[in-house]
Symmetry: C2
Subunit: 142 residues, 2 copies
């Protein structure tokens, strides 16, 4: 059908050329046909597959999750509970990271707001880093 070169596929999906080859190398993207000279030629199914991956990556899914979801999407008769579980986990993960980032933002805001633009010795940016006691929030590791 389409018969896209790797560069054309890249333009259609926004996925960089080396990344496409990388996906193929780790078995995320089906191997395409080759031109007589050995260059990759992609069809409509590859385009669809790569858009799926791209979209999933944009939503923060890991490649392992996307592999599982891809596998499910090829078995349309099975229950979608597994897919639902993966998506819920991802949502929970995003919520966790949001909470962490909000705590971090709060602390950073305090740091820069208190900076009096003087010398290092009395700088709240440096002081706060040196002494966690100056923080009130419990910004744990994300």
């Amino acid at each position: 059908m389409s018969d896209l070169s790797i560069g054309a596929l890249s333009r259609q999906t926004g996925v960089k050329v080396p990344t496409i080859r990388y996906y193929e190398s780790i078995g995320m993207l089906d191997e395409p046909a080759r031109s007589p000279g050995g260059q990759r030629r992609y069809g409509a199914a590859h385009l669809q597959q790569l858009r799926f991956i791209r979209h999933g990556r944009d939503l923060g899914f890991g490649l392992d999750d996307l592999r599982a979801l891809q596998g499910l999407s090829r078995q349309p008769d099975r229950s979608c509970d597994a897919a639902d579980r993966i998506a819920r986990q991802q949502l929970a993960d995003v919520e966790r990271r949001l909470a962490g980032l909000r705590a971090v933002r709060k602390e950073l805001k305090r740091m820069v707001a208190q900076c009096s633009h003087g010398v290092v010795d009395e700088c709240h940016v440096i002081q706060t880093l040196s002494d966690h006691g100056l923080c009130d929030g419990d910004h744990a590791r994300p």
Copy 2:
């Protein structure tokens, strides 16, 4: 003074033992003295230095930024503009990531809310991934 082993330092700071050695190997943490048998012995200055790094990492600073901030904190007479700039950049970065994550959360919520717990073929989780057109927000890559 304190004369801490690497394990004791790890317990005091919450930084794992291999990570402490890693920080030393890349020049983030000063090399400590050694016991007669060759084991690391840390003093109060190392404790302070590692807490600084840990706190900065918790706030999302990169190790390069922390190296710069550490350098500044050793020159108490200089203007703290550089420190301020780094912190503001970090804050801007955090805001950017928050915005991205909020868009992603919105889309994920829609996905799981619409899941009717049927079969894969009519699953919104899979469908949404397959077709970006089903999204309304513009959750770009974080």
